[in-house]
Amino acid sequence: MTAAAPYPIYAAFALGAFALYFLAPRAQRRRAVTTAGWLAAIAAGSVALFASQQAGPHTGILFYCFAVVALLAAVRVITHPRPVYSAVYFVVVVLAVAAILITYEAEFLAVALVIIYAGAILVTYLFVIMLAQQPGAPVYDRRAREPFLAVIAGFLLTGLVAGQVTAQRSGLPPPSKPEARTASTRLPPNPTASGNTAAIGVALMTRYPVALEIGGVLLLISMVGAVALSRKRIPIEGVPPPAPTLGQIGKEVEPF
């Protein structure tokens, strides 16, 4: 297998950066500019996905459908002037990624993604958006901050990484034969029969127990931290706050 030239990839990512620049929120939005930006974004996504396909056999058509959905929704997440719509488009990204994970036979991961992201994290985001709602569309949502420099930075980062991956593809180790792996970490040969949930559970409990414990401790720390951050004494109107008793001074410090 010859190494594919990374130039189509570079071109696609440059086109994508160009499209993002025109799609970024700005003060006066013109319809033609937005349409041109969308067309360029679609072209960039398809060029990147299909140019990278030259090096290998066909991936399923479902992957491409969901990849396009995920990319367009992700563009909308970062360009929509209203945060509520950004959050809803992010749900679309999560669902598309979950569908892609199912095509990878990662069913447990896909379901966990939908439950945790679309079910828990996004609801938290929506709560905060509702709590901090500003009347109308505030100016900081309608005007982007340095869109030109940002797309240059993003293009350099991802374009170089993707181009190098394309160029070095023949240097990647080949896909390993399943029998070369030990039984505890190998994916089941026929994942549709039992799913690979059991394999993930075994791997987490036998090979990565420290990571699992650290994850639990991190969740606990985050919970305590979030409670401490959001704790604020709100004085009841008309009632003067009680003077702290001597023993409490120095113990109870106001959060801010």
Partner: protein, 100 residues
């Protein structure tokens, strides 16, 4: 065996979109949403490698990524609410005096 490369491209593109959103947007909530888009790109990449090598390691890694994403969302949104109550705005520029 499916080709690995389109998945890596998708992961890189999602990550790059998240980076651009993180830099471009001024709303604190949308900034953190952009980091979640970056997480999606990494999850796609990890799962693609897990499939390519028929190995469960990538999926276990992606599962731990989910834990980190939940931790990050909880703490970040607490911080955002704290900042919002102090300045009554979600604009990140309102805190540019911290730039020094």
């Amino acid at each position: 065996m499916d080709s690995l490369l389109p998945s890596l491209m998708l992961g890189a593109a999602l990550f790059g979109l998240g980076v651009v959103g993180f830099l471009v947007r001024r709303n604190l909530i949308v900034i953190f949403l952009s980091t979640e888009v970056m997480f999606q790109g990494v999850i796609v990449t990890a799962a693609a490698f897990a499939r390519y090598y028929a190995h469960v390691e990538g999926q276990a890694y992606a599962l731990l990524l989910l834990v980190i994403a939940a931790v990050e969302a909880g703490l970040a949104l607490g911080l955002v609410m704290l900042l919002y109550r102090r300045r009554d705005t979600l604009d990140a520029e309102a805190w540019s005096t911290m730039r020094g």
